[in-house]
């Protein structure tokens, strides 16, 4: 009945792959069972686009185009903000899993320990891709355009996907470190706010107070937004000549890889050690 392949270095990688797929399937099924959750994760960024494009659009001046050029500036920022805030969802979802005891079941199975989080993060990526598609359409409707080459645009989307995937590992790690879903839902947002808003997503760095400017410039969230603006050919007002401004795409890529390299092992370790035991 129980056919077990002996664990060798190679087969454990193969199992990581298959187990991750199995867990991903679980989460995708879940999305289809509760379409409301997908709906609201889509509607929120769309509302942000409309709100900022029409309410604040006139007040923030980023170039000669007035409100129109602010919208072009804004959309890549909203992309960045959206993928950042999507991580709060995974933080809560993982904390719920732990509370319900299903984590214990996973940990008592001879499955690959990385697969539970691998599946969670991969399913989150699928959802993020959907959100990016819907956002792109909304952006197009309010006047955002891609002015660069198709290759550059494709690079922008791949980079956003990679970045989105990377930060979900931070969300996963935070979720495993929190004692229950209530705490996780606040903690999952707590680190996002400063990181997301001390960035160029809504206003150019050059308009910020001097002490904040270097922080905002090196902030990974600014980097992904600026990368997208450059690759899509959208406005980049007040662009200086510091390293994050001249090597933005490279730096963003390094950030994404570094985040995965640090937080994926941290999260998997937290998963192995997590001992909340399904206690509320």
């Amino acid at each position: 009945m129980t056919t077990i392949t002996p664990t060798s270095e190679r087969s454990s990688f193969v199992w990581l792959f298959f187990d991750t797929l199995a867990v991903t399937k679980r989460h995708i099924l879940k999305i289809t069972r509760v379409p409301e959750s997908l709906f609201f994760s889509l509607i929120q960024p769309v509302m942000f686009v409309l709100l900022f494009a029409f309410v604040f659009g006139g007040a923030i001046n980023v170039g000669p185009g007035g409100a129109q050029s602010y919208r072009e500036y804004l959309i890549p920022g909203i992309f960045a903000q959206t993928v950042m805030f999507a991580t709060a969802g995974i933080t809560v979802a993982i904390s719920y899993d732990a509370q319900l005891g299903i984590m214990d079941r996973f940990r008592s199975l001879p499955m690959s320990p990385g697969a539970v989080l691998g599946g969670h993060t991969l399913a989150n990526l699928v959802q993020n891709i959907l959100v990016l598609v819907v956002l792109s359409i909304t952006g197009f409707a309010v006047g955002w355009r891609i002015h660069g080459s198709i290759a550059d645009a494709a690079t922008a989307y791949v980079l956003m996907g990679l970045f989105a995937y990377a930060v979900t590992w931070i969300g996963a790690w935070v979720g495993l470190k929190m004692p229950n879903p209530e705490v996780a839902s606040t903690a999952g947002l707590a680190w996002l706010f400063p990181l997301t808003f001390a960035s160029n997503i809504f206003t150019p760095v050059s308009t910020m107070p001097g002490w904040l400017q270097p922080i905002a410039l090196w902030n990974p969230v600014s980097c992904i937004a600026l990368s997208a603006r450059k690759l899509f050919g959208n406005p980049t007002p007040g662009l200086g000549s510091t390293f994050p401004e001249t090597h933005t795409v490279l730096l963003t890529f390094i950030y994404a890889v570094a985040i995965i390299a640090i937080f994926a092992p941290l999260a998997v370790r937290a998963f192995k050690q997590n001992s909340s035991g399904g206690k509320a």
Binding site: I4, T7, D19, V23, L29, G101, I102, D104, S108, S275
Partner: protein, 332 residues
Amino acid sequence: MTKAIVASGLTKHFGDVKALNGIDLEVEQGTVVGLLGPNGSGKTTTVRILSTLLKADSGSATVGGIDVASHPDDVRKVIGLTGQYAAVDNYLTGRENLELFGRLFHLSKSEAKVRAAELLERFDLEDAADRGIKGYSGGMRRRLDLAASLIGNPSVLFLDEPTTGLDPRSRQGMWDVIEGLVAEGTTVLLTTQYLEEADQLASRIVVLDHGSVIAQGTSDELKNQVGGDRIELIVTHSEDLARAEETLKPLASGATVVEEAIRKVLAPVSGGSRAIVDAVRRLDEANIDIADIALRRPTLDDVFLSLTGHVAEDAEVGPKKPGRRGGRGGKK
């Protein structure tokens, strides 16, 4: 006989709380051992260490002959675990849950399907198989949870309070299933707060309190440890109580107890039914009206109370121990 589970000197603390104080445990292959104890006594912690979810601070344990600390992956291939809290995905159907766990047990796709169908049938969940388990009753969810832990045909099964929160009929159903598994040769370590459950299912019982084993043996051995039979007499008139006690004293093998409020005299005796015949004759000669008299064997409840009650007295001086609240945690 070989030992399916051996634990020696397991200790574990969480912050300041000493959850386990050196647990020794042995379970013969193919038998059921019941782990009995009040809230917070360390039952779940013991199960979690043996099922590789938690590392002990010190001590060692093997399951199926495999060391849980050094080879957790190999242990996971031979065990099944049903935790205290339901461990299934609420948004999936029963079948999807079982197939998922089957895949993660590394069964092939078709094997996982077949195994899931087998288990759904066995646990009487076929009708509900393709419904989301959000709509399952507590009993159905428990059965699915148990089914999930059997996905890999485990030789050693850990059941943490498998029937807590179930109505008597569902509980009986669960017991039947567990008895069936044992008949097929599965070794079971079961935790429970129901003495009746331990009495019914377990061939040996280990009583925990404050993270230590305070007694163990068969249910009969434990009962004998508390004392043998006793006569319980209720007199009709409370003024007869003192005379009744005097009358029974010569028969008693230990100290007699009078509970005035319910006009009851308790007398530990040896000699079984002869003792009660003797008692009735003497009471009759003394002209004492008997409302009720019975020879009672101690129940596991008596064992439990006498063992843990003793410990509780000691603890009364200090602050109340955490985890000794009266009620159960959440309804799950």
